[in-house]
Amino acid sequence: MTVAEAVRDLLAVSTDIRQVIVVDHGAVLGAAPGGDDGAADAPGRDDVRVVAAVDGLWQMAALTARLESAADGGAHLEGVTDCGANLEHVVVDLDDATLIVLEAGGRHIVALTAPDPALGLALFDLRTCLADAFPDESAAGEPV
């Protein structure tokens, strides 16, 4: 399954997710706007902007997580070697929507959802999308 197919399946399955992109090491691999029948497009000229914005959000969220963890006794700081090592997902309430960024295997999947989504379900769908898009790596990387 290609990234575009995985993204298309995600939008077909999820009732909350409106729009989604997959970012892999600074490049947008798959993107699909909501309400477009899940048609996944090739990367466009706005890719650089979205990659930078997502990276900025992720780095700040990772730093916040480290600071909060340190305030809780520093238990989460052990083994952390870089800024984003301990963060798995970020969920930000934007009043009329929710932005979710989830990281797996060095890639980020970014989703815009309806307000107050079924969060557990949305996170599961996003993880499944990445696993479908990169089956070999997820099979090798998943703990049993």
């Binding site: 992109i21 993107a31 979205v50 930078a52 959000l57 963060l87 996170l123």
Partner: protein
């Protein structure tokens, strides 16, 4: 007389239970976090609106949203 006492005691218990249930129903549920950070160890950090860094995180998220919506 004894039966009357038992009935009254039962009514009192029922009234107390109803009051407790009603109070619990009136109690507002905790507000949803403005930002939720999920960590790789399964724990989460919940940040309510007004907490330090939430405004910055929301501003960056809005920026990411605008960029996301521009991608076609």
């Amino acid at each position: 007389m004894r039966l009357r006492s038992v009935v009254l005691a039962g009514l009192a218990v029922a009234a107390t239970a109803a009051a407790v249930v009603a109070r619990r129903r009136r109690r507002p549920s905790p507000p949803a976090p403005a930002v939720l950070l999920g960590l790789t160890d399964g724990s989460t950090v919940r940040l309510a609106a007004g907490e330090p860094s939430v405004a910055d995180l929301r501003a960056r998220a809005s920026e990411a949203r605008a960029a996301l919506e521009a991608v076609r």
